[in-house]
Each structure stands twice: as C-alpha cells, then as structure tokens.
Amino acid sequence: MSNPTIQTVPAIVPDEVPATPSDSRPGILQRGLQFLWRRDWRGFVLPLLALALWWGVTHFKLANTEVLAPPGAVLIEGLHQVFNGGFVWDLTASISRDLAGFTIGGLAGFALGTLLGTSRLAELLVAPSFNAVKQIALFAWIPMISVWFGMGEPAKVVFISLAAFYPVAINTFEGIRSVNRDYAEVARVYGFSRLQLWRRVILPAASPQIFTGLHLALIYAWLATIGAEYFLKSGYGVGNSMIDGREHFNMGSVLFGLVVVGSIGALLNQLAVRLEHRALKWRNRSA
C-alpha cells in the first residue's frame, strides 16, 4: 500500500485477464454461503412440511405411536442399524446375490439375443414362444420357483437372473437386427473373417442397444432382489430386514430399509449411466 509502483500492478491485471469470479478469491466461508444462497431450496419445502406433520402427529399423540414412530426414534433406529445392527451383512448379501443374478441372467440373455439376432430360423422358432412367456408377470414365477428351487439362495438367484434375462435378450436381439446392412457389406468387401465381422462391425454397431438392455437389467435385478427377499424369506438381505421390521412393528427398520433400497437403486442407475457413457464414448468422437 505504501509503495505506489506495486499498487499499479494489481490494477492492470484485471484489465488484461477478463474478470472472473474466481479472481476475487473469496474465502471458503463466503463461497460456501454463495453456494447455499444460489441453491434452489424450494424443493425442500414439501419434505419439511411432511416431516413437521409427522413430528406433530406423533408428538401430540394424534396417531398410535406404537405403529407410527416419531421421527427421532426412527433416526436412532436407523443409526443403530448402520453401526451395530446386521445392516452390513444384509447389504452385502443383497448386493452379491443381485450381481450374481445379473451376471447369469445377462449372459444368458446376451446369448439368446445373439442367437435370435443372427439366425432367422432361430428367430422364427423361438421368438414367438419367448414373447408369449414374457407376458407372464415376473413375480408370478415366484411360487413355481419356490417349488423347484426351494427357499434358499439358488431360488433367489434364479429369480433375479430371470429378471435380468428379458431386457438383455430383447435389446441384444433388436440391437443386432438393427445393424446397418451396408456395414456388413463393407466388411465383406474387405474380406473380414467371421470373428472380425463380429468384433469390429456387429457388436460395436449394436452396443448402444445392448447397453440399454444391460442398464434395464441392472434396475430390474435390484427390484427382483428385494422381491426375492420378501417372498423367499430365508437368510439375510435388505428385503428380509424390512419384512422383519414390519412384522415386529419396527418402523425405523422399515423406513431405513426403504431409504437403502431407493439409494442403492439410484446408485446402480448412476453407475450404469457412467459406464454406458464411457463405453460408448468412441461413438460420439467419430460422429
């Protein structure tokens, strides 16, 4: 401040470099406040109202508190579950059977979709039956699966595989069928081998739709995991803990399970979007 020559320098800098907000370098507190200020808080009004209503109803005993636990008790129950309940076991059990089913169903679906996509004869033979069987609601298979595979892990994985199987099979089939014939023509001109044709032409061209199938399969498999745990009640799992919670009137456990089911679903969805984006990056580049 005392030296005028130095003072001119910072006065020039903002002129040369276009003034950006980061130039002013606000402190972390200021930036945090700015972030909070700019954020759209209107979405929180409804949940907060619901929370207030919930609190009011339980606080003034307008409803049976045996059934409708107060928000505080639910929060404590949730924390209890995370830190010293069997939550970790439940979650690992659920996710591992989810992934097992997803892998088996996805591979089977990919195989069938590829077969139907490449062979007209196979399509004529199998596709009508496949479409007919597909009409049966997924959960309607549960009673038969429980007879054939019992109530344990195999039955659950079979059911989850079935859930993942349909979307992958359908989308792989449609993806392969929609490959532009000109591409295959070009490959033939260049004398591609069968393997090259598959690796270089058909699979890349069909990949967006195959990814769509895998993405759907990931979502369905998670749904099927929770469903399988509801219906085939043995062992651990997030679904088991929710059903147990309901039977013991433990609302904390049920609500906590609900949040976990939603979060894992959203997380899997995000993961699929990311992977899809990364795997299909080359397409955007060439376009």
Binding site: L46, P128, V259
Partner: protein, 281 residues
Amino acid sequence: MSLTETLPVPALAAPAAAARTAQLLAGLRSRIWRGALALILPLAVLALWHAATLNGWVAQQILPAPTLVWSTLFDLWDSGELWTNLSISLTRVAWGFSAALVFGLALGVAMGLSKTAEAYLYPSFKAISEVPVLGWIPLLIMLVGIGEAMKILVIAKAAAVPITINTQQGIRNIPQAYLEVARVYRFNPRQLWLKVIFPSTLPSLFNGFRYGLTNAWLSLVTVELLASSEGIGYQMVWGRQLFQLDVVMACMVVIGVVGLAIDLVLQVIETRLLRWRRAAF
C-alpha cells in the same frame, strides 16, 4: 396431356391385380410357414413335459401334467372361482389406475406448465418415485393396514410415476413454434388447450398411460402375492400352499393372457387415436 398419362393405368390394372393376389398368396404361405415354425418349440416342450409326468421322471407334486393344468384351468373357470378372483383383481387395477390418472395428470400438467410448481414438487416426486413400489409396500402396510387401501395405493403409485413424467415431458416438448402460431392466430385459452397443447402432448400422454397400466398390472400381481386374501395373485399363493401346482400354473396362464390383452387393447387404441399423426407424414 392428362389423357395420355391416365391411359396406361387401366392397361396395367389386370397384371397389377394378378400380382397382388400372388403377393397375397405368398404372404399367406409365409404366414402359415411362420406359424408352423413358431409352434415347434411349444409343442416339443409340451411333449417333453407330458412324457416326463407320464413316465414319472418328475414327481407330480413338483410338475403337474399339462393335461391336468388345462383341465384345472377350465374347472376354475366353470366353478366361477377364477372369474371371482380375476374380477376382484381387475377392479383393484381399475381403482388404482384411475387414481393414478387423476393424480399423475394433475401433477404432470402442473410441473409441465409452471417452473415454480416444478421447483417445489419435482424433488419430492423424484425421491418418492426413486424407491420402487416394492420398497413402499412394508411401510404402507404399517401405515394403512393390509386392506384394500394399501393395494390401491401401491397400484396407484406404480402407475402414477410414468403418467406424471410423460405428461410433464409432453407439455415441455411442445415445439415453441406451435405456441407462437397459436399466439399469432390469437387462440383463446380453450382453443390453445384443445388445438395445440392436448394434441401435441397426446403421444407422450399415451406413452405414460401405457407404461402406467402395465406397471399397475405387474404391481397388482406382486402385492396380491405378498398380502392378500382374494384375487388372482392370492389364488396362486393358495395353490402353492396346498401344493396344488396345477392351480398355480393355471393362474400363471391367466396372468399372462391378461397382460397380453392389456397390451393389445392399448395398441389398438393407440393406433386409432394417433392415426391423424401418421397420415400427416
């Protein structure tokens, strides 16, 4: 000029007609051929199934004979039991879907038209829809009991999500140019809704209805399997508990047929409703 141009037409008509009949025949032949091929797999499975039960390769308790399933299906139908349960199930779907229609359309229109409504409502809607129906069932059972209200709420939630999303997006995606044309022609609000907003959101709306109804049927089956004392899903559970697997399989057939019927009806309605659109292209 015009005469010479129209002249060749009658001359061509006879061969064209012959070609058309030939094409029709070929189409018929390929259709029969396709049908025959399509039947091979189901017939083979049926034959294997029949042989397996006939020769005792698989215990009757685990796999009932196909003929038994078939006769059970007719017995259940003749006794009226099947229809009673099915009508209970369909009534539930109708109630749940109607509730979803009212709620989903209102919410979708509100969020589609007003940014403010979207800012207030969308995050909550998103949070609720992010948790699948299956996750809500235990909570709903705790809150409203195991009765009819719970089932209808479950079905309504399943159907309302796609209806809301598609309604909102349909309204959002109306091309700005349409609205400008309407403004230029000084449409009154009623005209604006009937001639611009409704027709241009119709395909999207219909998409929502379609997913909504399919979801409603699927979640009905789920909720009836899980917690019900009547309905087609319950009949399955009942058959399973008594180890009457012929009843279970007959119910699976019925569930599949209803699913297919819902699909077909919606397809017919869609092509009817959206015909004007195709013609424009």
